[in-house]
Amino acid sequence: MARFAADERTVVAESPTSQRTPRPRRRPPTLEQIRGPGSPHAYHLFLPEVVVGRGVQSQIIVDCPSLSRSHVRIVQHDGEVRFLDLDSANGVFLNGVRAHAAVLRDTDLLELGSCAFVFHERGL
């Protein structure tokens, strides 16, 4: 049987906590506007809650007549991003399906009136 000299043995060293590589900080989810006035534009969702609409009270204002003043609310909670139609006149379409609310998944297409957004779960 082969024998190893003491200095040939592999030493498994515990890396001190202070030297561990910090977990990279996640980029905020992003709504990428691909159609409608102002596009292309990337809206990074830094706030836990935003309203998209054409009214000045909205956090994401898109100057488009097919949008309601407060069209859709986007809420982040527990690592998920969810939208809620605020009884908008033209509705919210998720991947072509009229929807009242849903959790958004990566690359989902969100259409509000004549405007369209692609959702990026891990930002752009």
């Binding site: 969810r82 399906v97 009229r98 009242h100 998944r105």
Partner: protein
């Protein structure tokens, strides 16, 4: 007043968590219908667990729910022991049987909580489990009228139609429509031919605002799964078109189907509806999707 429909579980047969099923979801059958504050639950698959957690966040003093089962196969009952509101004394759950003195659903709920299967017994549930039943295939809850119809599925299954004023939703999962077709043999050879469902089924779903239907198999897959109790997507599309349904939610997704495959199935279903000259809105039911029936 509007009806709100929320999908908590859309998968058939067995839970399928994972990256390939993330968009449409991996939980098994559970659909919530909210009619002016009245809570209706269609099936208690694993999606029911999520619904239970969500109910606890709604700041309700009490939870009152009307629970309907399509049938008692695992993927439709498994969520019940994990439905947290059922453990609270302020909760009332009306479990509906398809006829007076029929106890199939309550018996199965009780049976699946025997100690061989689950550590907490049915009698330890703090909530009130109350009996409800259909009489002449009809039940009424405040302003909502419910009807049931037996389907074709091993061990029996039932479809439900909920009507409130002029709105209507049909929940018809775990149904092998293809065995019932009037032109069954022809449709197995020629996939393009219009499938003719029996009159009773067509009438049951007629003019529905939303049909949530078992659409587990493609035409090719079905050939190897005849008698397993599930429908072809194309058959369900033809039924919806013939019955003048407004929206069709493809439901009970096959556990082998990834999100991308379901997208392809939806595309094919839309093409089929369009070929029939229909403007039927076809889509795949997706976990956590909320629809409003205005």
């Amino acid at each position: 007043m509007s009806l709100f429909v929320r999908f908590w579980g859309t998968r058939g047969s067995i839970p399928t968590p994972g990256s390939k099923t993330r968009r449409y979801g991996g939980n098994t059958s559970c659909v919530e219908v909210n009619a002016g504050g009245q809570l209706f639950i269609l099936d208690a698959g694993t999606g029911l667990r999520e619904l239970g957690h969500d109910l606890l966040t709604r700041n309700l003093d009490t939870v009152e729910a009307h629970l309907f089962f399509s049938h008692t196969h695992w993927d439709h009952i498994q969520g019940f022991p994990f439905f947290i509101p059922a453990y609270r004394p302020t909760t009332q759950i009306h479990v509906y049987e398809i006829a007076r003195h029929d106890e199939r659903f309550t018996r199965l709920l009780l049976g699946q909580m025997r100690s061989e299967y689950f550590p907490v017994s049915f009698s330890d549930l703090g909530g009130h489990i109350l009996p409800g039943y259909f009489e002449n295939d009809c039940a009424k809850v405040d302003g909502v009228v419910l009807r049931c119809l037996e389907q074709t599925h091993p061990g029996r299954s039932f479809a439900y139609r909920l009507e409130q004023d002029t709105r209507s939703i049909v929940y018809a999962t775990d149904s092998e429509l293809d065995l019932m077709l009037e032109n069954k043999e022809q449709t197995l050879k020629d996939f393009d031919v219009l499938r003719v469902s029996p009159r009773a089924i067509t009438d049951f779903v007629r003019d529905a605002d939303l049909l949530i239907a078992d659409a587990q198999y493609t035409d090719v897959e079905y050939a190897k799964k005849i008698g397993w109790g599930h429908s072809r997507v194309s058959t369900v599309v033809d039924l919806a078109v013939r019955a003048n349904v407004k929206r069709l939610a493809l439901f009970h997704h096959d556990p082998l189907h990834s999100d991308d495959q379901i997208d392809s199935i939806v595309d094919a279903a839309r093409q089929r509806a369009a070929l029939r000259g229909s403007n039927l809105d076809v889509f795949a039911a997706r976990e956590d999707l909320v629809l409003k029936i205005p």
